[in-house]
């Protein structure tokens, strides 16, 4: 019985992979891209241990490779299927790999209750209805979050925002050049030091650019 591929990341073809203890990772070249994968008989079970282990694998790759697109947990595919989707979405992958080159993800979580949105007023037209729907789907950005965004705008090559949920008011992800990570941290620390807010802020990173991996299902 053949083995399928458990995929950790997409990188450029031809690069030299680091050794990762406990993993027999290999490069599967597909045109100008390569999947970093491991041949397995079964998928990896979902657990805290396997999640942490996969995160470590991707972190190690990110440390050694210029540009990496992390793959979501559970990507267990046969080689033919992998080749098909990578080839089909090569443009989106090429753009994303260029974007993340020599950069890391920094994540800022604002702890607190997510801001409530006011219910949309009754729409008189279809256009108004669609605009109201789009507006209500956009994460509510508090003044504190806006202050942080402004503080790091010049250091961030890209930004992604996750709406609040549970005890998290909002999550900001920034793509930051590897050489500017310390300035990014300092900038946030300086900015929030004198602010009076009930929110607490947790900054994590640098980490692989998970939040900047392309959506291959909706790509063209």
């Amino acid at each position: 019985m053949g083995r399928a591929l458990y995929v950790y990341a997409i990188v450029r073809s031809g690069i030299r992979l680091p050794r990762i203890p406990g993993h027999a990772i290999e490069r599967v070249d597909i045109g100008t891209f390569a999947a970093v994968a491991e041949r397995r008989r079964t998928a990896r079970p979902l657990s805290e241990k396997t999640l942490r282990d996969q995160f470590r694998v991707v972190e190690r790759l990110h440390e050694r490779v210029d540009a990496i697109l992390p793959v979501r947990f559970g990507a267990f595919v046969d080689e033919e299927e992998l080749r098909r989707i990578v080839t089909l979405r090569r443009r989106a992958l090429a753009v994303a790999l260029r974007k993340v080159r020599k950069k890391s993800q920094m994540t800022v979580r604002l702890l607190g209750r997510p801001a409530a949105r006011l219910p949309a007023a009754a729409a008189a037209t279809g256009t108004q209805y669609l605009l109201a729907r789009a507006e209500s789907a956009r994460p509510a950005v508090s003044p504190l979050a806006e202050t942080i965004r402004r503080a790091v705008a010049r250091l961030a090559a890209a930004e992604a925002i996750d709406p609040g949920r549970g005890s998290i008011e909002l999550t900001l992800h920034h793509l930051v050049a590897n050489g500017r990570v310390a300035r990014y941290r300092d900038s946030i620390e300086r900015t929030v030091a004198d602010l009076n807010s009930r929110s607490a802020i947790v900054v994590s990173g640098p980490m692989p650019p998970f939040a900047f991996a392309p959506d291959l299902w909706n790509a063209t």
Partner: protein, 56 residues
């Protein structure tokens, strides 16, 4: 504003990154993980950290 920074990934970073982000290569993953609300089930570590911040 209480401020915490960490260069080591927290459990929340790990879960959020691997289950909610990253390139999706197979639709099975979407289906398998659609009902997994692990991110918010395992927030205890972060909440403890937040409580400490407020105490400080």
């Amino acid at each position: 504003v209480p401020f915490v920074e960490s260069s080591e990934a927290s459990l929340l970073d790990v879960i959020d990154s691997l289950l909610n982000k990253g390139v999706v290569l197979n639709a099975d993953v979407m289906l398998a993980l659609a009902n997994v609300d692990l991110v918010y089930l395992r927030l205890s570590a972060l909440l403890v950290a937040a409580d400490r911040l407020h105490e400080g």
